[in-house]
């Protein structure tokens, strides 16, 4: 049966709206993306141009420049795993780091950021790298080992010696600050509806 006129116009509206909402919150972000490499990035992003900016440019953004995890953040959102972001990835990154993103999504990406060797587990080596980045290598080697052991002891639930996603999620649920108010970038000033 043909859908009624009301239904059809509603669907039509949703169609147009969805593709236009995609463009609505995004011009500001595109402005930032463009100004990083004005010669390379075209002004028109509606045709999905195949342009990727390398990691070196992106980690020089003022929001990311001083963050010790900036390389990991950019790598987690990059589709090709090497840290170059297309505009889609760029929007993804700021939408996850914004205040609008749901908690589960933030937890997944926080896990990816701390997982340095991308094996889906936070193992001892990952923890050591995290600690070094956090403290700018001011802890002694003995202290680092001790901290890593204690962290795994506290958070590992299934006894495999490293933290899986479930362990990580369980642990950060005890610190509601983190996802709610700390794991945000200062937003670039637009709301993302995707």
């Amino acid at each position: 049966t043909r859908p009624s006129r009301g239904q059809r116009s509603q669907e039509h509206l949703d169609n147009v709206l969805r593709h236009s909402v995609w463009f609505l919150g995004v011009p500001l972000l595109h402005g930032r993306y463009h100004e990083m490499a004005p010669n390379v990035v075209p002004m028109d992003y509606t045709k999905d141009p195949d342009v990727k900016l390398p990691m070196q440019l992106i980690i020089n953004m003022p929001e990311l420049k001083e963050n010790p995890f900036k390389e990991r953040i950019v790598e987690s959102f990059s589709e090709d795993g090497e840290g170059s972001l297309s505009f889609n990835d760029f929007v993804d990154m700021f939408s996850v780091l914004s205040e609008m993103a749901p908690r589960e999504l933030k937890a997944i990406y926080a896990f990816k950021i701390y997982d340095f060797n991308t094996d889906n587990f936070i193992c001892k080596a990952d923890l050591e790298k995290t600690l070094n980045k956090l403290t700018r290598e001011e802890l002694t080697a003995e202290e680092i080992t001790l901290v890593c052991e204690k962290v795994i002891e506290e958070a590992d639930m299934d006894g495999d010696g490293k933290l899986g996603f479930a362990d990580f999620e369980n642990m950060i649920s005890k610190a509601p600050d983190f996802l709610r108010s700390v794991f945000h970038q200062i937003s670039v000033g637009c709301v993302i509806f995707i």
């Binding site: 991308t118 889906n120 995290t130 802890l139 005890k174 108010s181 945000h184």
Partner: protein, 800 residues
Amino acid sequence: MSQLPPITLHISEDTGSDNQELSPDNEGAMHTSFRELIQEQSILAEASTELELQERGRGHPAHLAPPDTSAFAWLEPGQGEQHPGDSTTLRILASMPSRTIGRSRGAIISQYYNRTARLRRRRSRPSLQQLSRTARPSLRQYDLESDPARATLQDKRSLLAKELLSLSPSQRSHMLLSLPLCLAEKRALWRELDEQRSPLGLRPHPTAAPSPCGWCKDYITLGCRHLWYRLLALLPAAQPWHYALKQISGRFGSSVLSYFLFLKTLLMFNVFSLLILLVFVVALQAAYPPAKANQQPFAGFELLTGAGYFTHSLLYYGYYSNITLNDPSASSLSGSVAHSAPPRLPYNMPLAYLFTVGVSFFATCILLVYSMYRSFGESYRVGSSAGDLAIKVFCAWDFKVVQRRSVKLQCENICTQLKELLAERRSRSCPLSLCQRLGRVAVLLLAWVLSLGTVLGCVVAVHYLLEHMHVVQQEHRALAGSTWQREGILLVLPLTVSLLNTLMSHLYNLLAICERQDSPAVEVYVAICRNLLLKMLVLGLLCYHWLSRRVVCSDEECWETCVGQDLYRFMVMDFVFTLLDTIFGELVFRLISEKRLKRKQRPEFDIARNVLELIYGQTLTWLGVLFAPLLPAVQVLKLLLLFYIKKTSLMQNCQAPSKPWQASRMSTVFITLLCFPSFLGAAVFISYIIWSVKPSETCGPFQGLETIYKSVNVWAKLMEKSSPNITWLTWIQQYLVENTFFLFFVSGVLLAMTYCHIQVVKGQRRIICLLKEQIANEGEDKIFLIEKLHCIYQQKEERA
């Protein structure tokens, strides 16, 4: 376990791509893969399969780490054995669900498919006959007909879209928002949703609208929605002080931000009370001023003392009339009213006064309890045990901080905190000797004795000062001294109390340094405790004084106005001392430290002390609302000025606090302190005055009544007389409000609810313990099975 479920295990021909896209919740496929494994025992593993696997791993759009390195990394420390040629085991290990979550696109889609399906099924519980009782609860809900593990990426996408369409729109959008897929993938999913919703033949063309009218309507609605979204985007920026708060959090972190957010919350509370009071009490009284004219001219000193010109003004209780304003029956007195005047609406002032104050308190109570409930829920999780170190490592980094200096400071802070935690663990493992422990106990005892002693000392001092001031005031009244002297005397008490508060808080800081507590959190709580004790005891003493000395203020004819003036003076003095404290504590300290001592150390922003000052000021406001309806306006002004002063001082003079703060837990503590000693005390004080204290005879809206509450009785009787049908009103009043049994019943119900809640929480903790044990057991199972696998393969290799 009675029957086996009818699982048909298919031996897949195409083993490669399927294995890499197993769904995490898909146990049927796990069985499948193991069965394949057993079938493939005869096929000898070769180095080429390993290579093939690596190539497939790189070529596939999803990220799969080369399985050999990760498997090696896993095996070596755990097992101490090496299985270089075990590519089938490696293949299985690589496709284990725990490795594919968040990585493989297909795995994510399958996971969300199952989640959506479960969401849909939860709403309609399947009958028990359909369920086969298996040992694996998850299999019961598993729909084996549409097995997503077998499908390609496109099929999985369409399956997920089909499931999503069966959800409600809000659930659907929430599910889509939380998908951890990249944007291109989500758009493909949207497209899939569109196609499924309107099958191909009936999809409307964007250009072929039903009619020109419809086209206009479409675009108008679209335009409106655009505007709405734009407005929503601007909404965060339109909140007051949005940019200022961002600046603060960027430089100092979330903990200092919590102070400013608390200030903003208090401002909202006060603005709300002020609006209610303005609309229902102040504005109307201003429109109908009482007959008594204001004798005294305005001199600047009133701003400090609240007396003089302000005495007979809207600020205080004494100004408000006790009659029904604009009463039509009194119109015969004023002959100047024309006959064409609009109909007059009488307004019962005493009743309005009482009800407005009551309603504003009640609304504030509800808002406070709600914010407390929300922040408790967020900061105290069920089953949270000590996981400090792990939380410190993962959750300490404040991603909001962007300035280089602040980032460096944060790194140093985290380093210090980690070292402190390690030292604490070490000291816990090697406890102090008896001598040292006795020494510590002695120091703590001494500190507490000293602080309690100072509190008592201050309270006694304030008491004697009150007596002395009372005598001095009487003398001055008798001698008819100059107004300046008289008003100066009025200021002595508030000045002394504020001075004592400030000095004592600095003393407690010093004591805390001497005590050298192990845990910084305990240090903060102890400081808050001591300061709070002092402030609340002094306020309690003052309240007692105000209640019992009311006859003294008969000079102004109005003890309520007198009390209101006292409270005004306290508030103003408190503000002045906060200002002085900021200037001397922060600005001068920094100047001295930089110029004279040439040290780079700036003073820290003491969050606990500042928050307690805010709570103290708010308590004064709540205490004084009954006596001075415009006091919330004074508080609003004070808070606005305080925000800008504190922010400027913070930016120029301070450094971030070095003590570790859990901002959410601290916000909970602040709101709880605001609710319990502060709001509860003020509510008790006001209730006591309304119910049991005789208002003054000659001024105010309740003159001549026995107690303020009696006005309600008078009104109820009037209502009954005018229309005998409204007996329910008197019934409510008699049996619900005044009857003590009802109050006990309500308190009993609340206690029962609290008890039930506590029991539920206990039960949940127990369940969490059991689940943790179960997880540990499953982990051991996994390790055991993988070891067995390796054993089997080793044997096969040796045999072959």
